[in-house]
């Protein structure tokens, strides 16, 4: 039969699980070992923060928390490939991207600590807040990309989504509109193999998740998401295309969720221990460290020193979080509309009155 169309999806990897190069066409940025070291340090920082956050939750000082253990390479690749005025639309665990873009750990903790002020963060003001409704952030990124196109700004919108989220209607809609309107959208599927208890193969019959982009006429690429170099190369490629008006791309970052889904989850209920053990052999930090040490660009001493520095930094951030005062009760009203309508004004003063009465009682009782 005549052929209507053919497609090919490539797989990109530079560093294998053991930290040896599998190809010799290293991209320019990767020849700058200083930069690689810096990114490795940031990856390590994220991991240390992650562990600390879990500890906080376990001791009742934080609400439910979604760890990012194992995703560090993917996230730092995304963060470092983006420019400040590009827009990032995350789901809820892309801390590596966000720290690189200026979000403070204390803000992240505030968010998971049940305080809206965490989303008013120090990262770029045009970056989107954490997004809990799966997939919906991808359309925000597409809308941002459309705004850039309309205003003829050389900016790119990047969104991240999980393997589970790649099943969500919104994600496919975002890819489709990006293709239909030739938008500067870089969509990264962070395939960590699990959507809570549902394995990647239960999400779709597609051989790769990257091929979701074919339905939208987008460029597609599958990448070893545990390989910082490959992932960064993929992001550089996709962002450059998008910034120059060549349209969107769908990148599948193949990685693994080494942690529970969140602190409210117990992965042992549904996930074979052996699978996790094997995944640890492919995790992103070890291989990059090996590679950097093979170049004599990093030493165990530096590692130890850096870990201590991270510990101090994270502790300081945690204390800043713990010392944040409760938000005033009226703040629950103040951001519902730009201007409070009469109903809300009345409800607001009702609450304030009640609060004052209570504290009056308390102080009365005190005397």
């Amino acid at each position: 039969m005549p052929t209507a169309a053919t497609f090919e999806i490539e797989y990109l990897q530079f560093l294998d699980a053991d930290g040896s190069l599998v190809r010799n066409d290293l991209p320019a940025f990767a020849r700058d070992t200083k930069q690689l070291v810096k990114l490795y340090q940031e990856m390590l920082m994220v991991r240390i923060f992650d562990g600390k956050a879990i500890a906080l939750q376990r001791t009742g000082k934080l609400g439910t928390y979604a760890p990012c253990l194992g995703h560090e390479a993917t996230y730092l690749a995304i963060g470092s490939a983006m420019q400040e005025d590009d827009v990032f639309a995350p789901s809820y665990r892309e801390y590596g991207v966000q720290f690189h873009r200026g979000v403070k750990p204390r803000e992240l903790l505030l968010y998971w600590g049940g305080d809206e002020r965490g989303s008013n963060f120090s990262g770029p003001a045009h970056d989107f807040p954490w997004c809990v409704p799966i997939g919906t952030q991808c359309l925000h990124a597409a809308g941002a990309a459309l705004a850039f196109k309309i205003r003829k700004e050389p900016r790119v919108a990047v969104c991240t989504i999980g393997d589970g989220g790649s099943s969500k209607a919104d994600f496919n809609s975002a890819l489709n509109v990006a293709g239909a309107m030739n938008l500067p959208l870089v969509a990264v599927i962070v395939n960590n193999q699990w959507a809570i208890s549902v394995p990647r193969n239960a999400q779709t019959g597609a051989r790769t998740l990257a091929q979701k982009g074919i339905a939208a006429g987008l460029e597609c690429l599958q990448v070893d998401g545990n390989d910082l170099i490959a992932m960064r190369a993929a992001m550089d490629y996709g962002i450059k295309r998008a910034r120059h008006g060549h349209g969107g791309i769908c990148i599948e970052a193949v990685t693994y969720r080494l942690s529970d889904h969140t602190t409210a989850d117990d992965a042992r209920r549904y996930r074979p221990e052996q699978e996790v053990k094997d995944a640890w052999l492919r995790e992103p930090l070890r291989r990059l460290k090996t590679y950097l040490m093979s170049l004599n660009a990093w030493t165990e001493e530096e590692e130890t020193a850096w870990k201590e520095q991270c510990g101090r930094y994270v502790d300081a951030e945690v204390n800043a979080y713990l010392e944040t005062k409760m938000p005033p009760v009226e703040s629950m009203f103040d951001f519902t509309y730009a201007e409070l309508p009469p109903d809300l004004v009345a409800q607001r003063s009702e609450v304030l009155a009640a609060e004052q009465a209570k504290s009056a009682d308390r102080s009365a009782a005190a005397h």
Binding site: P129, G143, A144, A147, V177, A180, L344
Partner: protein, 326 residues
């Protein structure tokens, strides 16, 4: 100055605001070269180009989601659902994001967007083209819900909706799109989004309604007048946030209230108005509040739809009951 219909007023408002604010864009299905299936956007493509009058792929989820993205990044999108009955695919984005971004980010990111849709029954259209589903939105904090009922109010309220810094649901009563023309100066004058409009003064009974039912309600007021009954007619116009004071003032005067809407009765927005009267006007009321509404069924296909919709007769009868009861 030209006399224009309600839908022409919608177009006039869009054109004015697009001319004066480059951040305003219109997007939806068939809003471009076709000018919208009701011609609400006719001429805009020619005037403002395809960058600002955007035919989207056929997916309401897409339209709603990119609208949030556009608004969050400094644009003022006016998104159209081709009919109110196709707005459901937009709800996750409207409820989870448009209505919440300001609150979620403590004001860092806001969504100054408008969602328009032709609304309501009575035009002999196919299924899903005749809903009155405003109650989907009136319990959602952070939204405004607006329903104009005249060319002038369509113009002024749509301008206000586009300029409002928060998301607005703007339902257009399609049954009266072309009911009559009136002079609507194209002067960019917006109307307030936080008041009800008293369309007719009266002393015996207060008739409260919105959207296309304003037509039947005013006709009912005439019929009542012919029988010596003086009815005050209020067009709520902005359902959320509700200007209850105007309604309350009127009921203080009349002691009676009939609420008219075409959505199903149970948990329709009329319930909120009736409830507030029960809570704040109990001692002003001399007769129980009446609701004249659609039944608690789906609006039938068009062979029976006029039997479903409130009628002048039903409004008159309900008004008389409030008088009989006292």
């Amino acid at each position: 100055m030209a006399q224009i219909t309600l839908i022409e007023a919608v177009t006039q408002a869009l054109a004015w605001e697009m001319k004066h604010d480059p951040s305003v864009v219109v997007l939806g299905e068939d809003v471009g070269i076709n000018g919208g299936v009701f011609r609400a956007t006719i001429g805009l493509l020619e005037q403002f180009g395809a960058d600002r009058v955007i035919d989207t792929p056929l997916d309401e989820t897409t339209i709603a989601g990119i609208t949030v993205g556009l608004a969050a990044q400094g644009m003022k999108p006016v998104a159209e659902a081709q009919f109110e009955g196709f707005i459901y695919g937009m709800l996750e984005q409207i409820i989870c994001h448009a209505a919440r971004f300001r609150n979620r980010t403590r004001g860092r990111m806001t969504i100054p967007a408008v969602w328009c849709a032709p609304w309501g029954g009575g035009i002999r259209a196919p299924e899903h083209h005749s809903e009155a589903n405003e109650a989907l939105f009136t319990n959602v904090p952070g939204l405004r819900v607006v329903l104009p009922s005249s060319p002038a109010r369509a113009y002024g309220l749509l301008l206000a909706a586009i300029r409002d810094p928060d998301p607005v649901i703007f339902f257009e009563p399609k049954r009266i799109y072309r009911q009559y023309k009136e002079e609507v100066p194209d002067d960019g004058e917006a109307l307030p989004l936080d008041v009800c409009f008293v369309l007719r003064d009266g002393s015996d009974v207060t008739l409260v309604t919105w959207g296309a039912q304003v037509k039947e309600t005013l006709e009912a007021a005439d019929a009542l007048a012919a029988e010596g009954i003086s009815a005050e007619v209020i067009d709520v116009a902005t359902l959320k946030p509700l200007d209850f004071d105007t309604i309350h003032e009127s009921v203080k005067k009349t002691g009676r209230c009939v609420i008219v809407h075409e959505a199903p009765r149970t948990a329709g927005f009329g319930a909120e108005i009736s409830a507030r009267l029960a809570e704040h006007a109990m001692y002003d009321l001399v007769a129980p509040v009446e609701r004249v509404t659609g039944f608690d069924t789906h609006i039938p296909l068009f062979r029976l739809e006029m039997k479903y919709l409130p009628s002048v007769e039903k409004i008159v009868a309900a008004s008389k009951r409030t008088l009989a009861n006292s």
